[in-house]
Structures are given as C-alpha cells and as structure tokens.
C-alpha cells in the first residue's frame, strides 16, 4: 500500500503539442509553482493535487512535475536533457514514483516511442491516451485493452480538452501502479556484459537505464554518481568497441520494430484520408501574399493593444498607487524611514506593478497564437527572413513587442527553441524604441527641432519616426554581429512539428498569463526593488556638511518667495548635493565630449530606474531659481552655455542625448528580467556594457560632428 501521508511524486511526460499543459492544469488547478531547473533556463513547473480514493475515501497527496515536452529520452537540447536526467537517474531529487506518459492517439507510433523508453526504465507508469475525440473523428480504431496487455502498463483513454476520462486516470494513479515487468524492447542483447556490469555497479533495475548511462558516459556531470563510480564505470568499457551513435540508432530502429508489432495488433487506420481542415486553412495562412498580410495585421493588433489599450489599466494602477503612497506618507511619522518606504520601497513596487497590464496582454496574445497552432506557422513564414540576421522565425513577435516594452518582450522569447537565437533576440530587444523613451524624445525634440513642415509632414514627427527606425536598424545590425560572436555549444536543429489548428483553451491561456505575471512580480521584482532602494539612497542622501546645510541656505532666501518656490529650490539643491549629484559631477569629464554637463549626468544616474525618470529629474534640477513660472522645457531652452553664450541645448547636444537614450540600457527592469530569463548575471552585464558602449560612442561621434 502507498503510504497516504507521504506525497507521491508524479512526473508528467509527453511529446510537445499534445495537451500536456492542459492535463497538468486539470490535475493541479491553481496549486502550481514555477522555477528554473538548476543551471539551465528551462522552466520547471510543479504542482500539487489531492485525490480522494473513490472506494475508501482516503486522501492521497500528489506532487506533480511537468517535464518539458520531448520526443524521446535521447537529449538533443537543454530542454530534453531534463527528462533524460530525471528519469534515468534514480538518485535525482526529482526522480518520480510514478510517470504519467501522455500519448497522442492520432499518432500512436511516435507516442509509443517515448512511452516504451519510459516503460523500459522500469518505473511504475500509466499511459494517458489523449485526443480520443480526434481519433474517432479520423476513423482510427484503438483497442485499449489489447494495448494495455501488450505494453504492460495501465492505459487510460482521455480527452483532456473536454475533461473526459480524468477521474478514472486520477483513481488509477492512487491505486498502486506496478513496476512494469516486461520490456517493450529488451536491450539485453546489446553489449550484455557491459550493461550487466553497469546495472550491478549502480544497482539499477533496468538494463535500458544502463544503456542510457553507457550512451552518455562522458556527460554524467548532472547525475548523482560519484567521481569514483564514474571512473569504475568507464573501466567497464575497457576492451569493448562502443559507438554510442550507432548503438542509439540501432536501438531506435529495433524499438520501432517492436512498436510496429504492437500497433498492428491494436490499431486500425481508416482506408482513405480526408484533406484536413488545417491543410485548407494553411492554403491561406501561409500563402506567399495573404500569409504575410494576415501576419502583419495580427502584429498590428498586438502592438496596438500593448501600446495603447494597456495604457488605461496602467494609468489606473498609477493613479491608485500614487494615492496609496500619499496615504502612507501622511500616515507614517515623517523622517528617514518614511522617506525610505515611500520613495524607495513603494516607488519600486509601483514601478513593478505598472508592467502587469502589458505583460498580461502580450501573453494573452502569445498564448492564443501558441494554443491555436498559429505560432508554428509564424516560424514557417518568417524563418528564412530572420535567419539572415542570425535570428529565428519566432523572434519577430518579441522584437515587435519591444517597441511597447522590453520587459514582456524578453519574457516572450521562451518560445524560441534554439538557445543561441534566443540569447541574440534578448540582447537586441532593448534597442527597439520602447514607450518609456517617448517622454524623453518628445521633450528633446520640442527643444531642438522647429515645428516646420516638410510638405505635409511635421518635422518633429519625422524626427521621432527616424529615432524608431534607427533603433530598429540598430537591432538588426546588432543581431548580425552578436550571432557571429556567440558560439553555440551544440548544433541545434530547426525541425519542428506543425500542429493542427485547434480552438484555444481559455483556461490554459489564463494559466499562462498568471504564470508570467507571477514570474515577473516575484523574480524580477526583487531585483527591481533592490535597485530602486539604492537609487533612492543615492538621490536623497549626500556626503558632508553641504547636504546638511541645505535647509539653512533655503531659509536665507529672499522672503518674497512663495512656499512652493522654496520647496522646489530645496529639492533641487538637495539633489545637487546628494550622492547622485556628486556622481553627476564625477561623470562630467567622461560625458563632456558627448556635450553633456553634470545636470544631465545626474539625470543619467537617476534614469537608470527607467528612462522616463529623465524628465522628472530635469524638472527637479531646474527647480532652482524659479523666479518666473517657467516649465522645465522653457528653462532648458533659455539656458546658455557659460563659455560660448549660445543655447545650452543646441541641436548637437539634443541629438547626442536622444541617440544616447535610443541605445543605452537605462532600465533596471529590463536588466532584472534578463537576469531572470537567462539564469545568470553574465548576459545582463554583457548587455549593459555593449549597449552603454554603443550609446556612448554614437553620441560622441554625432556630437563631435554636429557641434
């Protein structure tokens, strides 16, 4: 009997696109957790489930792990290494008590390939035979009892989308599934002494597990096998000729022969095939003209939604949160702690939740496109085009989303299966001009570009458009360069399945949105709050007496000034004497060749939080000496260069500054999300350095030419 107090560890495995996440959601509901598998950026989804025994009423607790979709236990990519390592290593911390193998009834041969490998590992398992509705619609007949007898494990026919057969499957899970007794394909005949030796050394129950170990004898670093044991294992190969590639393909072909016999005994295929619904839709959706036209329309809708539709909930969040912050500020006794909570912590949290509408909206679209099967067609249409730039067909949607915001865009690169192409996409996304640059651009454009018209075109509008275009071209050029520099560890194949079109499952989409929002809030959020607190400290504290004496200086101001003017003056001086102010002065020699002064230097420091902070900081800095009620724009316009007497914000400075903001990675949230998505600080640091370098040298060249 299974001990009902102990959690039963269940692993869910299956081919991609056959309803694995649907089944996982059905089994676990909202009790899900997402993390990364250690060392790789492969998402680890786990969930818990309580199943009541229908006969005894006893509760059974299950912990379910959703393994990445795979076609076999021979790993080709980091995603596929995970199921291989977890299932072939009995000492792996995630090694399950039971495996639920999800099979596609309409393609039983291929599903049984993976299933038979799991069965031959001698782990208690159950075959969930999914898509039984399609099986019937296509006129395929499957004798489930015969299949059960032939493969030696329990078979449960289900229709996951319609929630049919799930209760039977749950009951089967808690009723003592036996260890499979027979092999679907017995590998004993391949190198019998070697396999027996490995079984004995590692105390394995299955000679197929031994074969898997033998095939990967030189890459067992993630296995719970000691160095000494690995050496002993390697000695077993002494005097044996062993070509793992040949053995693997021989074994695969023999395995398929056994599967073919099983199929012949229990599956009857229809005589004629109808032209499928998907084939007919594809005539239009991947058509050489209509295909692209429709894709552009879809991109347009996505782009419009995350750009303008998301603005309403974002404004709502902004207003409500500002209101909340004000209440907290008034409620807490004033002082450093109040300041820290309000301007450091709460400002950081506000900066995080503001992203939620855009993330939710983008992932709603992506989940619909994935779930319907359209995303695979996007790959098919765009792959050749994007490959010219070292990108992937699936890079298009992340790149375009980057125009709204890099944060959700970077999170959406998970649909790119090739590691290298995904990294390249992540690295260039911040070059796409995001919406946070808009306030900076509009302020500077209105300062330096006259409101002339060229024909019907407004000159300011043209400049703004050219900035977007420059960002886009820079992204493409950067991808070519970066993909030439990054060396991929192993050769990856593009080969993928184009699934049939299906209606999206709304609950799956909801789960997907919740997952992404949760990942962002919890994982990236931590880093954003930390940086936010550091920035608060830099801009509100200062060294030495000068900072302390700001208040006295203000009280010496002429008495005819209003309180509001005094407050503005105070904040401005505080910022100047703060650590950030000192940093601005320190930066001045470095940024002088770009045409920037210490005031811009301060803004560069503070706007690392987010680019639009530039405008706010400039407003504070220019709060000094507000004799007349001028806006920040007007003050910046009338400011004169001390040496030349010409306007401080000349065309050269304006362009230099705009291009700096077009390229520099002035966004802590992007940095945090890249850290989360790539699993280390290596890539965000590289990205920060190359983007800052690009920004610096572009601004330098442009300023030196224009001035």
């Amino acid at each position: 009997m299974l001990n009902s107090n102990k959690k039963i560890k269940v692993a869910l495995i299956g081919n991609p696109n056959i309803g694995k996440s649907t089944l996982f959601n059905l089994l676990t509901g909202l009790h899900q957790k997402i993390a990364n598998f250690p060392g790789v950026t492969v998402e680890k989804k786990t969930g818990s489930s309580t199943i009541f025994n229908s006969a005894t009423g006893d509760a059974n607790y299950l912990e379910i792990i959703d393994l990445p979709g795979t076609y076999s236990l021979y790993p080709n990519s980091p995603d596929e290494r995970i199921p291989f390592e977890i299932l072939c290593d009995p000492n792996n911390e995630d090694h399950p008590d039971i495996v639920v193998i999800l099979a596609d009834g309409t393609n039983l041969k291929r599903s049984l390939f993976l299933a038979s490998q799991v069965i031959d590992l001698k782990i208690p398992s159950l075959l969930a035979l999914n898509m039984m509705d399609l099986v019937q619609a296509q006129g395929i007949k499957i004798n489930a009892d015969e299949l059960e007898r032939r493969i030696g494990i329990r078979v449960c026919p289900i229709i996951a989308r319609k929630c049919i057969g799930i209760e039977e499957l749950k009951q089967a899970l808690i009723n003592d599934l036996p260890v499979p007794t027979t092999y679907v394909y017995d590998t004993t005949l391949i190198k019998p002494t070697l396999l027996a030796g490995i079984c004995k050394e590692l105390n394995l129950k299955s000679n197929y597990a031994a074969l898997q170990i033998a095939n990967h004898i030189n890459s067992l670093e993630h296995f719970q096998i000691s160095k000494e044991q690995q050496a002993t294992l390697k000695n077993l190969f002494f005097g044996i000729e062993y070509d793992e590639n040949k053995i693997q393909s021989f074994e695969s072909l023999e395995r398929y022969k056994s599967i073919q016999q099983i199929i012949e005994s229990c599956v009857r295929l229809p005589h004629e095939k109808k032209v499928s619904f998907s084939t007919r839709i594809d005539k239009l959706l991947v058509h050489r003209i209509w295909g692209y036209a429709i894709f552009i329309c879809i991109l347009f809708v996505i782009f419009q939604s995350i750009f303008s539709l998301a603005e309403f909930p974002m404004n709502f969040i902004d207003e409500t949160f500002t209101g909340f912050i004000n209440i907290v500020r008034d409620f807490l006794p004033s002082g450093v702690l109040n300041d820290l909570i309000v301007k450091g912590v709460l400002a950081g949290i506000g900066g995080i939740i503001i992203f939620v509408p855009q993330i939710a909206m983008l992932f709603m679209f992506i989940a619909v496109l994935e779930d319907t099967g359209y995303m695979a067609r996007v790959s098919f249409l765009m792959d050749k085009l994007m490959r010219n730039f070292g990108l992937n067909g699936r890079s298009v949607i992340p790149l375009m989303s980057g125009v709204a915001c890099a944060v959700p865009a970077i999170m959406s690169t998970r649909t790119i299966s090739s590691w290298k192409e995904r990294i390249v996409t992540i690295l260039v996304i911040p070059l796409m001009s995001c919406s946070a640059r808009l306030p900076v651009f509009t302020l500077l454009i209105s300062l330096i570009i006259p409101t002339n018209y060229i024909g019907v075109f407004n000159l300011q509008g043209l400049v703004l458009m050219s900035l977007y275009l420059i960002g886009f071209l820079a992204a493409l050029l950067a991808s070519i360069v970066i993909s030439g520099l990054i060396k991929s560890k192993h050769k990856s194949y593009f080969i993928m399945e184009i699934p049939v079109y299906r209606m999206p499952r709304w609950s799956n989409i909801l789960y997907s949105i919740l997952d992404k929002v949760k990942i962002f809030l919890l994982d990236a959020g931590k880093i954003i709050i930390a940086i936010s607190i550091v920035l608060w400290f830099l801009s509100s504290r200062g060294p030495g007496e000068k900072f302390e004496k700001v208040n006295q200086e203000i009280s010496q101001l002429s008495p005819d000034k209003t309180d509001a003017q005094k407050r503005l003056h105070l904040e401005s001086l505080k910022l100047e004497y703060s650590y950030a102010g000192h940093l601005g002065h320190l930066l001045e020699p470095i940024i002088k060749p770009l045409g920037f002064d210490w005031k811009i230097g301060i803004a560069l420091v503070t706007s690392f939080a987010a680019r639009e902070v530039f405008v706010g900081t400039m407003t504070t800095i220019y709060g000094v000496g507000s004799d007349k009620n001028l806006t920040v724009k007007e003050k910046m316009r009338i400011e004169k260069d001390v040496l030349t007497g010409k306007p401080r914000y000349s065309v050269a400075v304006g362009w230099s500054l705009m291009l700096f903001y077009a390229f520099a990675m002035q966004c802590m949230s992007t940095l945090a999300v890249v850290r989360r998505e790539t699993g280390s600080w290596k890539w965000p640091v590289i990205q920060f350095l190359y983007l800052s370098g690009l920004a610096y040298f572009t601004s330098l060249i442009v300023y030196q030419i224009l001035k």
Binding site: R110, T279, G291, Y493, E497
Partner: protein, 85 residues
Amino acid sequence: MILNKEMANSSKKLSLLKKGEKCIVDSYIDENMQQKMLDMGCLPGEVITIDRFAPLGCPIAISVGGTVLCIRKDEAENILVNVID
C-alpha cells in the same frame, strides 16, 4: 543499412524535390540529424509528401505518418530519398 553512404542510383536529396512530390526515406547523411528524425517518427521506409515550401523557399513543410513537420533546406539535404511516381 541506414548509414549506407554509397546510395543507390535512384536516391536523391529531399531538398531537391518539388511541391506535391512523394518519396520514401532511404537514409540520413548526418548521424545526429538521423536520431532527431527517428525521435519524431521519420524512419527509413516512411513515406514523405512535400506539402509546401515557405514563400522564400525555406523551410519546407513535409507530411510524415499523419503529422506535418517543418525542416530547413540545409536539414533536408541530409535526407536521402527515393521518389515514388
């Protein structure tokens, strides 16, 4: 033999076929690629139909055993096939 590189006279690369043509998989040139194709159920002896080419000529959509796979042209060069009339 799968890895028989001295191909029969009639074998040619899958990448050379035209839309709508049918063929039988003979063998694979690249060993790793072979394993990947075997994993996806595309065995020697299996019938492949060329469904369509992407508008720019690559990738290629092929039907194998009831499913549609999408492969790049340089990957298709690794698959040797015999055309059926």
